[in-house]
Amino acid sequence: SQKIEQNSEALNIQEGKTATLTCNYTNYSPAYLQWYRQDPGRGPVFLLLIRENEKEKRKERLKVTFDTTLKQSLFHITASQPADSATYLCALDGYGGATNKLIFGTGTLLAVQP
């Protein structure tokens, strides 16, 4: 089965710096990969989707890369702000056509210090 690894330790950075979060997966290559943000007591909120044939995708201060050779996605937040503090979840589609289901990582907690 697919295993997704995200940094379990919290990432602490200074306001204005770029935050980089890592998502590694083992086993099969997904058709697409998604990143979500989750605040305490709330459901995940969709941020970006990147497909297997895309290397990079951007949205405002967010950038996602997808390296199917390394089996890794990097999620960058540039010019980070304290309001960016949250848990960020990486999610992959299911195996072998089960693209309706998302397999989530455990998430990385980002803390942006003012």
Partner: protein
């Protein structure tokens, strides 16, 4: 409503009791998903509906769990003979169609005592 609505937001029940959790998806979304999230973990897939039918229920942990979506809109997750290990946040999500972004509700926190 504008987003996915889940009720109740919190539910405390005694071990062995039956519970129902409700999800109102975004209007017009044909795909509906149930996930379960334990503390410090990512959401874990339970079941997926496309319209009224359960297209994939491979994530349901055992036969105590059941979900319905009789009219292709509102869905109810039903848990029989609850156990303490069922305690978690149950998340519902909907999407316009499969393979597109999913919109999550705020979840129902279930505590079995």
């Amino acid at each position: 409503g504008a987003g996915v609505s889940q009720t109740p937001s919190n539910k405390v029940t005694e071990k062995g009791k039956y519970v129902e959790l409700r999800c109102d998806p975004i209007s017009g979304h044909t795909a509906l998903y149930w996930y379960r999230q334990s503390l410090g973990q990512g959401p874990e897939f339970l079941i997926y509906f496309q319209g009224t039918g359960a297209a994939d229920d491979s994530g349901l942990p055992n036969d105590r769990f059941f979900a319905v979506r009789p009219e292709g809109s509102v869905s109810t997750l039903k848990i029989q003979r609850t156990e303490r290990g069922d305690s978690a946040v149950y998340l519902c999500a909907s999407s316009l169609q499969e393979n597109t972004e999913a919109f999550f509700g705020q979840g129902t926190r279930l505590t079995v005592v």
